[in-house]
Symmetry: C2
Subunit: 908 residues, 2 copies
């Protein structure tokens, strides 16, 4: 007995049995399109009858020297008979001829395979029958010439331009401008000319036998699986090459059979906003292509209700049925042939991030899906949408309708931006310094362009893909970017860009939408979407119920802490005290402290700083009332608080030159004073210079060296804590020591500081609920966590520095240097500063958590590097059983959702 290679749409149960009932396997057998068509048939949705030749048949064909597997063709013919029976039409019949379409359909949607061939079954004889049936000769010859044309180009591989040429010439001959003005006679002539062309390119007559047409079309689909574009696509997308494609043969339905016919496309919900209303376009008496091509002005779908109330009512019912069945918003195509509604396709609908959130939430409330499913359906990265400026919907539709859209490319870095075109990095930087908004436009970018990219509002290129230099740098620095807009012809010499018939000069305004991948002329207004979107809020509250990870925030000021609380933060995981030192009114004291030569001078400077720090901390404690606040003691190297070395050298040179030309003694005296001061600072700066400051005197190393400074910080923390406690605030300070690499550093520093803390609590007669802990940001600290936690009550991974030391990569240098090359060339699969490197850094984290909790059972472990707001990294933190992730306030919504995803992934 030979295999079953062909399944009628209505035989979906047989297909299920064949693959042991798994729907996923049915999709593998029949392809996505075929499986969905069969599925619609099963639930009683009107689908033009047809059948699917399986992917197994395709694979058998491709692996056996390109011969149809045994029995397949016979089964196809039998299936045609069944379709004839169902439709009452007949293949090749001279009265009621059956016409069918032939489409490829693999398991995963995949460009690059064979396109559709429509109207199979037409020949001179059946054409006549169709004319008799439709009373529309023009329509039929249009169908016929389309068949010949598609057959020639798609099935036989003849060049399409010759065929288009014929149509152009026919129009000229007829003296008309559009195809729709051509007559039946014209199309008939075109059909004949096409047949001649067919013969010329294929050395054979156009096959008039419908069965031969079907046979050749089936084989063409099989072959297209190995077409170059399909293979390239699969390589890029990581799809296996042995899946094969199915072939779908389906009865043609015609929406252009009079005013009781129509065709249209629809989404079951609004794909932009997510609102629960059918949205779509249709045309009375038209073909599907007309809707898509935009030649005729389409009608808004709700109007169909008035024109064809019965059909519309049935259509609405089917949409609801499909949503219920698939439990997802659907994107459908339909045709009404002489009042009879046919559904041609259904698939999950594409939507904006905003719509994705609303649809997921609504569906829960409609009882269609569970909260867990809703949470899983929204990608944490989609929450990004609510954080970046965007062009409003109105702006975009206005721009599109007024022809301002110039083209599309890859949406490689989200957000919208407008600016004047700058065609090289130096100009971009210069104009930006003048306060101009700039979009940097290049054919592609190189490392030399980075300074321009940083100065620009957004980045636009005509070449390159998702991992091109431009894309990587843009994402790195959060710049909106559209790359690979191939429609752009950028001429660096003439300083202009040609797009179709438009010319854009350097300095002209353009706008890019990095979220959608679109490019416009002129300046489009941007809006920041509302992060307080009620659907998002609801979804996030569900996420909160699911996640087990705490979501804390990195906040240095009360205002940051407040924002974070609004976004759902449950604690402060990192307060960087040094940020407070950089403020204008404080920096002089910090510099005095660094420059002081005598202990009493240093003491004076520290005494001046203490009240500032105390107020900083008190403010944070008040906002976070009852929640934990982790305060990291001074971390950066001292030279960061002093002027730049090269600047000082140049300033000193200038002073010397001025001194040489000084006129009066007073002037000389004044200059000499300045020289002396500069020299003093320069000397100190030079004494602080390090070959590798990243690996130098900072963190606890500095804390141990100038312990009076960290003592001042601890005094400020505990004085502030006592102060707010007296105000009735519930205060929980946690003091974090940075850059520990050896347990002794921690032990010594903690000893000094804890003594101070106790002193102050005794002074104030108060007991503060405090803890001491450390950052784990040096490989050695992770490797010796068992020792470290003897003196640390909590640990927090500083994954930025941990990544630098684990990889031996200086982020400052590498992210505008070789790291970008590495990502472009795929040497590194991901930027480890964006996503935690699981195998290296993640392994160290695992070692630390395991060793740490072996010694201190309930050890609180968190992460406060930038990775704390990145979904894949959050997944890792969940797997490592950390207590919380801490991220910037803006990333908190993303983190809440990602943490829920991680928890759900873990459940499977």
């Amino acid at each position: 007995m030979s295999n079953k290679w062909v399944y009628l749409f209505k035989e979906v149960e047989k297909a299920e049995n064949h693959v042991n009932g798994e729907w996923e396997n049915v999709r593998g057998l029949l392809g996505g399109k075929g499986a969905n068509l069969a599925d619609m048939v099963r639930i009683g949705v009107p689908v033009p009858p047809g059948f699917t030749v399986t992917t197994e048949a395709c694979n058998a064909y491709l692996t056996s020297g390109r011969i149809f597997p045994n029995g397949m063709w016979e089964q196809e013919l039998e299936a045609i008979k069944e379709v004839e029976k169902e439709t009452g039409k007949k293949f090749g019949d001279s009265e009621k001829p059956l016409l069918v379409s032939c489409r490829s359909g693999a398991k995963f949607s995949m460009p690059g395979m064979m396109d559709t061939v429509l109207n199979i079954g037409l020949n001179d004889q059946t054409a006549k029958a169709m004319i008799k049936l439709t009373n529309d000769e023009r329509f039929v010859y249009d169908l016929y010439r389309r068949l010949v044309q598609m057959f020639a180009s798609v099935v036989m591989g003849a060049p399409d331009e010759y065929f288009e040429d014929v149509i152009t010439k026919t129009r000229e001959r007829a003296g008309v401008k559009t195809d729709s003005e051509l007559s039946a006679e014209d199309w008939k002539a075109v059909t004949n000319e096409f047949k001649s062309l067919f013969r010329r390119f294929t050395n054979r007559d156009f096959p008039s036998d419908p069965e031969e047409q079907l046979n050749l079309a089936t084989e063409a689909v099989f072959k297209s699986w190995h077409g170059k574009r399909a293979v390239d696509y699969r390589n890029a997308a990581g799809i296996a090459h042995d899946l094969g494609t199915a072939v779908n043969i389906q009865t043609m339905a015609f929406g252009n059979m009079g005013d009781n016919s129509a065709t249209g496309v629809a989404m079951t919900r609004d794909g932009a906003t997510g609102e629960n209303r059918i949205e779509g376009d249709y045309l009375i008496n038209a073909q599907g292509e007309d809707v898509v091509a935009g030649i005729r002005l389409t009608e808004d779908l709700p109007l169909l209700e008035k024109e064809m109330p019965d059909a519309y009512s049935e259509f609405k019912g089917i949409c609801e049925k499909l949503e219920k069945h698939y439990r997802e918003m659907q994107d459908v195509e339909f045709t009404i042939e002489k009042g009879k509604l046919w559904m041609l396709q259904t698939r999950d609908g594409k939507r904006t991030a905003q719509a994705a959130v609303r649809i997921a939430v609504d569906m829960v409330e409609e009882g269609l899906i569970t909260k867990e499913e809703a949470v899983k359906r929204v990608d944490p990265d989609q929450v990004d949408f609510f954080l970046h400026p965007q062009f409003s919907r109105e702006t975009v539709s206005q721009a599109k309708s007024s022809g301002k859209m110039l083209g599309t490319g890859l949406n490689v870095s989200p957000g919208a931006a407008s600016g004047i075109v700058a065609l090289d990095a130096d100009i971009a930087e210069a104009w930006s310094h003048e306060g101009k908004q700039v979009i940097m436009v290049r054919p592609e970018t190189k490392p030399d362009d980075v300074h321009g990219m940083l100065a620009a509002e957004g980045i636009l290129t005509s070449r390159g893909g998702r991992t091109s230099h431009a894309a990587l740098v843009a994402r790195q620095f959060g710049k909106p970017a559209v790359v690979g807009v191939s429609a752009l012809d950028i001429n660096i010499n003439t300083r202009q860009i040609i797009v179709g018939e438009k010319v854009i000069l350097e300095g002209d305004w353009v706008s890019i939408d990095g979220t959608a991948g679109e490019l416009y002329t002129g300046k489009l207004d941007t809006v920041v979407p509302d992060i307080k979107d009620p659907w998002l809020m609801k979804l996030l509250s569900w996420a909160d119920d699911i996640r087990t990870l705490g979501i804390w925030t990195n906040a240095d000021y009360p205002r940051d802490a407040e924002r974070a609380l609004n976004y759902g933060a449950e604690g402060i995981g990192l307060c960087r005290t040094e940020h407070m030192f950089f403020e204008a009114e404080r920096l002089p004291f910090v510099q005095n402290m660094i420059m002081s030569e005598l202990p009493f001078q240093q003491k004076e400077a520290l005494d001046a700083l203490l009240p500032f720090q105390r107020e900083d901390f008190a403010g944070l404690f008040r906002v976070m009332d009852g929640l934990p606040v982790i305060i990291r003691l001074l971390d950066p190297p001292l030279h960061e608080f002093l002027p730049n070395h090269m600047d000082l050298v140049h300033e000193l040179n200038d002073l010397k030159i001025r001194l040489k030309h000084a006129g009066t003694v007073a002037e000389i005296d004044q200059l000499l004073d300045q020289v002396r001061d500069k020299r003093t600072i320069l000397k100190r700066v030079e004494s602080l210079q390090e070959q590798n400051p990243m690996l130098g005197l900072r963190g606890v190393r500095l804390g141990l060296q100038i312990s009076d400074l960290t003592i001042m910080q601890v005094q400020a923390i505990f004085q502030a804590a006592c102060m707010v406690k007296n105000e009735g605030i519930d205060v929980k300070p946690k003091i974090m020591i940075p850059l520990t690499s050896h347990v002794n550093e921690l032990q010594r520093q903690r000893e000094i500081l804890e003594r101070e803390a106790k002193e102050i609590m005794k002074e104030q007669g108060l007991d503060i609920d405090y803890k001491f802990g450390t950052m784990i940001e040096i490989p050695r600290a992770a490797l010796t966590a068992d020792e470290i936690v003897e003196h640390a009550e909590f640990i927090s991974f500083g994954t930025n520095d941990l990544t630098q030391t684990t990889f031996g990569i200086s982020r400052d240098d590498a992210e505008s240097g070789f790291l970008i090359d590495y990502l472009e060339q795929g040497i590194l699969p991901e930027n480890p500063f964006a996503t935690i490197d699981y195998k290296g850094v993640g392994e160290l984290m695992k070692i630390a958590v395991t060793k740490g909790r072996n010694v201190r059972n309930e050890l609180e472990c968190g992460i406060c590097g930038e990775h704390g707001g990145e979904p894949k990294s959050i997944q890792l933190c969940h797997e490592l059983n950390l207590n919380y992730v801490s991220c910037s306030p803006f990333r908190i919504p993303v983190a809440r959702l990602a943490a829920a995803h991680a928890a759900l992934n873990g459940k499977k």
Copy 2:
């Protein structure tokens, strides 16, 4: 039944039974001194009779409110009876009185406990008996006053200076200069005055009862275990506080009982050279102290053979017996009392490194010890002696005899050096720049002094210990140093040093011996000991038989490789190709390559370098014929090959100023050209500048970026290999890729390079036995070794960089900065750049070896960081089962011995 608290020397077997026969436990029970005395008695060596009160008694006394344990005192009295029986003398007897000494003696030799009390048993009555026996009143009253003095100061804690004062005044009164000129009457008077002093300070009479003397002395020894100095010493040396001390009571023997009496000290072999001959000093008719004090000129021991042939012959026999028994060279004290030889003490003798080696080897050949024991007896660090310049023995003894020795301090960094005194770092540096040899002398050093210390030949301080800043920095940079020479009075203001009565001015010559810890005036000649010392060679050959680790070398040039082979290297573990680039004739090509803007320029530069590299490699291959040679591809960042940035900035400024004052047009033109050239270089230097070059564009990162350079290197390697193979050389190149952090780097780079290698072998028609591998010097590489070794056939730990990244410490900055503070303060127990940090870096190495060998069973693992020549690190490498360590040629002997030690330690 009460415990046994007291053991006669001759009861050693009973003591053994008490502690289950373990000699180590006997030492614990009786203390080192007591156990050895008892042991000598057992083997028939004449020892003045006596007994030991056990450490158990001491502990019982200390833990029970300072009461002698039950029965102890009674046992002591019984033991005295037994001694009386043996000696025929009697405690307190008026005819033949027994005199004894009382000494403390813990398990480990320990300063800070109670010193000796001699002559216990003397009182007015026994003194008379002694006078009768010796016919020497002067001698007896000298003994008597000593007893009173020692008893007052040592037992009762009275201040010694008052007693010394009495003697001084007595001398003045008698009008003599030395004690030896004082008469019997004088000493008698002194004795009486001492008794009065005793009463004043202790509020009681000097105890005349011998038993009371013994009782108090015993208790004083017990108490001294808890004395401050003893406790401090134990804390510092890590000795347990609950060991307790034993008390040794021994019959006095007198070497000053006439011309048939003598006293002396001896080593059984020459402690300086190791030669097998008794060496020592003696005095006829003298006391032990006289030999040590150096008041009388001592005789060379062999002369005793003539003066007392019988005693000497017995003594010689005893020395041989002791050596045979202890299987070690002994340091002994003896007394001949009226022709009767008594051995007072024996212990293992101290010796120089050279002597240690020779003695160990000789003892093997004499059948005393095994080869393994000989190897274990020489500390690998002692081999260092053979590598550093030293003052010759003759020079030293001449210097000493001519009074040039100024003092001693701690020998913190080995080697000898001479130079003129520089009293601050700036002067040291300045004089060094003038070509002068400088010894930097400071009370103690600070981080600010480091530049001076680096410029100096050696370092000398008057304060500080083994972990002082000076000691740490000196060891760090291999500078001879003596610290803590308290005899020095350094006056920075007057720029002079006062030592006793000598004055040394800044600029005067001094010489320091960092191996011995000695300081001399003037310039002493240094010699480099012969590393080819035949005994060392023999010892190392035995070490080779024992060790399992391979010993390879780091060598860049054929001359290094030759030296390493002579020292016993078995391969080259690291050839740093970039060292070749720095040579004068090549650097311009390297710079051209870096500066080249066009590919063909780069190619030209590389083509010029290729022949040089080929010759380099061919030379190495020829020397290493048959042995593996690991060649590391270019590692350092490119900027290292270009001029310094700040230098360029200053040069450019100078040129601009000259331009301003230029006279002729020709001059202007010339200057303009120079400005342009400098600017071009400056721009390139700036483009290569990195915030943290240690973590920057170097190693494989650079190799991937300018792969033509690494291709050139691989071409050179394989062309050279083919060339020498044709000469009949057995060549085994191993190409090592540096700084890998991700397997993909390795895979890509190897792909490119291996293709090149195959190309050349094909061209030359030869097959070379080569391998590709990588350094493991980044934590991530260690953590992902399982992936790495998929593309690496061998791995080599670069522990310098691995330590930097694991600790997050920049060595360049830290070793003259906070790392020294850390070591001084004990925050780090050891410098991780000197000794591999077991817990952090060692853990990563373990992970790498384990994961690597899981994937590639026979993976060759080595180490090529500087740690490869350091004994503790070698121990770790052995434990981790590495295949080899690679170190600088000079460290190879050390490494061979250390590797053998590691193997022997492993066997236990």
